[in-house]
């Protein structure tokens, strides 16, 4: 897509065009991510939230062209700065250096048999062409910047002698080492206490500002997303159900799922120890073919059409906010 020359628009770093992901089954494909489209601007910080199993990690892996086998991208393209990376052969060039990922499970991204120091220096030597000694110094700095108490010792340790949060911070250090254009962070702070979490998010924020790095933050912590991101994408059962500016979505959700999700956030200072609020009913079964909206069976606003027609993601009356719902919630001022 051409940039509009009359408007000084921020350029796009990544564009996801109608990407679907499926896993082969006996008689075809189970599609678990259904034709997803969105784009991320340079230096923009976007939050990706949604139900467990809704396809957030697979979407991020699809951007990286790393969908786990036997899964595959069944349709769609991914553009990195207008370059189609969906079928390029020179994947090694951009992976890690232009788009980096902090994967949800830090152990799978760290090699258990290789010392931390080697794992992080290798990135710098390979992608930045650093000398060994230079890479070592830079590695120590990176480990220090993610709040590891003794970076020099950590360099000589293997992943299994680190705590969960320490491993997570090593994975973060590796991901930011090459100052990528897009950083995908899949639940990067689940193993961190809130003070270190805020320190790490500050660090990612300053990297984002200094190097114009865009961030796609996948998180179940809506408060973290509220504080860190400017835009939010909400997924349910392999589809984007709502997207828009973070303040709009969190204060005036239009999709009943988004609203129910926000209502489930527990309050630390709520003294009435009643039961936690949940969304009634069961999560959908990914891959099952639905006629209508897959949230309909759990939705208090569902009407007949919801059971027969899948709603499209459409711009709502409020600018910038898009919602896929036949009966979107009205904006009520509180």
């Amino acid at each position: 897509m051409k940039l509009d020359s009359t408007v000084n628009r921020i350029p796009t770093v990544v564009r996801v065009n109608s990407v679907s992901v499926g896993f082969p089954n006996r008689d075809g494909m189970d599609e678990v991510v259904h034709s997803i489209s969105f784009s991320i601007d340079v230096a923009e910080r976007v939050g990706l939230v949604g139900e467990s199993g809704s396809g957030k990690s697979l979407t991020s892996r699809a951007i990286m062209q790393l969908v786990p086998k036997p899964g595959q991208i069944t349709s769609g393209t991914v553009l990195l700065e207008e370059r189609n990376i969906s079928d390029s052969e020179s994947k090694i060039d951009w992976r890690g250096s232009e788009i980096a990922i902090i994967s949800q499970d830090p152990l799978t991204s760290l090699n258990p048999l290789v010392k931390i120091g080697v794992q992080i220096s290798e990135m710098l030597i390979h992608h930045k062409g650093m000398q060994k000694s230079e890479a070592r110094i830079e590695s120590i700095n990176l480990l220090k910047s993610v709040g590891l108490p003794n970076p020099k010792r950590t360099m000589n340790q293997y992943p299994n002698s680190l705590s969960g949060g320490m491993r997570q911070r090593v994975a973060i250090a590796i991901a930011i080492s090459c100052k990528p254009k897009l950083l995908i962070a899949d639940e990067p702070t689940t193993a961190l206490d809130v003070t270190i979490q805020s320190q790490v998010l500050d660090l990612i924020e300053s990297i984002s500002t200094e190097n114009q790095t865009a961030v796609l933050l996948i998180s179940h912590d809506l408060a973290v997303v509220a504080n860190f991101c400017s835009r939010i994408i909400v997924m349910y059962d392999g589809r984007i159900v709502e997207t828009g500016p973070v303040n709009e979505i969190l204060n005036f959700p239009k999709h009943p799922y988004t609203q129910a999700l926000i209502a489930s956030v527990p309050d630390l200072f709520d003294t009435s120890r009643e039961r936690l609020q949940t969304i009634p009913g069961s999560p959908p079964i990914a891959g099952r073919i639905n006629l209508g909206c897959s949230f309909a069976p759990r939705c208090t606003h569902a009407s007949d059409i919801c059971l027969t027609h899948i709603p499209k993601l459409e711009v709502s009356s409020d600018a910038d906010q898009e919602v896929a719902c036949h009966n979107p919630l009205k904006r009520v001022s509180s």
Binding site: V49, G50, E51, S52, G53, S57, P68, Q104, L107, T108, G147, L148, P149, N150, K152, R153, N156, Q157, S161, S163, G164, G165, M166, E187, T190, A191, L192, D193, V194, T195, I196, Q197, S198, Q199, L201, D202, H220, D221, L222, A223, A226, N227, V246, N247, L250, L261, I262, S264, V265, P266, L268, F269, T271, R273, R275, L276, Q277, T278, P283, I285
Partner: protein, 336 residues
């Protein structure tokens, strides 16, 4: 807590040290757990929060015998497990289950979900047909479709894997489940469903939980008592209402002040903090003194004891002990 009842878990002055690495660097021991005591009664939940690397997982692993205590004692139902031979412990350990922070520690990647859970069911001597039904049951309780049973762990999402690990722990009908960040990968709604479920099971069966979580609102809901760990020690312990809403220790205050808020309008940015301590080279006295606002001369010399506070929490802090009547609402920031 009833006075004359034997607690399910009684940990006394537990220390777990790791040998420092032999190498170019001076090898000091890492005091991962350094003098921890607590009890968990039957049917009760103790929550543990604290700094990353403060020894929570090590403490949990020592309860199920993975990390050997350096000193101190662990008693389960009144039986010392730190002094027994491994074979004698097996029947006791079977009644303890752990959901590990890393789901791959709970689930063997070579086993299907069905196989993993049925392994847990073995000790209940069920018939083949019963096993199948029970697995379907367990998956439904953790809100997973039964069709996932034939998959391998890597074919699940992060949150689905965690729920399988919980189902596997529940399968054995244990006396205690240690949940180490067991709900961290779940969205808030599914997490709430699982927490409600764990509460229900506790009410029905009198099971106890040791719940490790960085999410303080999870702890507030699930646990009767909460302990806060810093650098291998419990710095504050008491009822979850007291500890989480009227924190006394400066570290607890700092922790709670850093909890991000969903209605946090952009601009109310989360504070940045100072350096976490190096477990192989802790500052003398109170390990928190180098980051503390209320620091007194004695804080760098003498390790504060965990003492009963006015509001029934125990707090290890010289400053809190000195001015118990002072305003507890101030403070709560770390030195940068």
């Amino acid at each position: 807590m009833t006075m004359n009842q034997i607690p399910l878990v009684e940990v006394t002055d537990l220390k777990v040290y790791f040998k420092g690495s032999a190498g170019i660097l001076k090898s000091r021991d890492i005091k991962a757990v350094d003098g921890v005591s607590f009890t968990i009664s039957k049917g009760e939940t103790l929550g543990i929060a604290g700094e990353s690397g403060s020894g929570k997982s090590t403490l949990a692993r020592s309860l199920i015998g993975i990390n050997k205590p350096t000193s101190g004692s662990i008693a389960i139902n009144g039986t010392q497990i730190s002094s027994f031979k491994n074979s004698a412990l097996r029947p006791i350990r079977k009644k303890l289950q752990m959901v590990f922070q890393d789901p791959y520690d709970s689930l063997d990647p070579r086993f299907t979900i069905f196989e993993s859970i049925s392994e847990g069911l073995q000790i209940r001597n069920l018939a083949k047909s019963e096993i199948k039904d029970e697995i379907a049951n367990l998956l439904q309780t953790v809100k997973l479709p039964v069709s996932l049973a034939s998959r391998y762990p890597k074919e699940l999402s992060g949150g689905q894997r965690q729920r399988v690990a919980i189902a596997r722990a529940l399968a054995t009908k244990p006396d205690l489940i240690i949940c180490d960040e067991a709900v961290a990968a779940l969205d808030v709604s599914v997490r709430a469903q699982i927490l409600n479920l764990l509460q229900d099971i506790q009410q029905e069966s009198g099971i106890s939980y040791l719940f490790i979580s960085h999410d303080l609102s999870t702890l507030r809901y699930i646990s009767k008592n909460v302990a806060i760990m810093y650098a291998g020690k419990i710095v504050e312990i008491g009822s979850s209402d007291n500890v989480l809403t009227h924190p006394q220790h400066p570290y607890t205050k700092a922790l709670i002040s850093a909890v991000p808020n969903i209605s946090g309008k952009r601009g109310t940015k989360i504070k940045s903090v100072g350096e976490p301590p190096d477990p192989a080279n802790l500052p003398g006295g109170c390990a928190f003194n180098v980051r503390c606002h209320d620091v007194l001369p004695q804080c760098s010399i003498e390790t504060p004891k965990l003492l009963l506070n006015l509001n029934d929490s125990k707090v290890a802090c010289h400053a809190t002990a000195n001015n118990r009547n002072s305003d507890s609402s101030k403070g709560g920031e770390l030195h940068v």
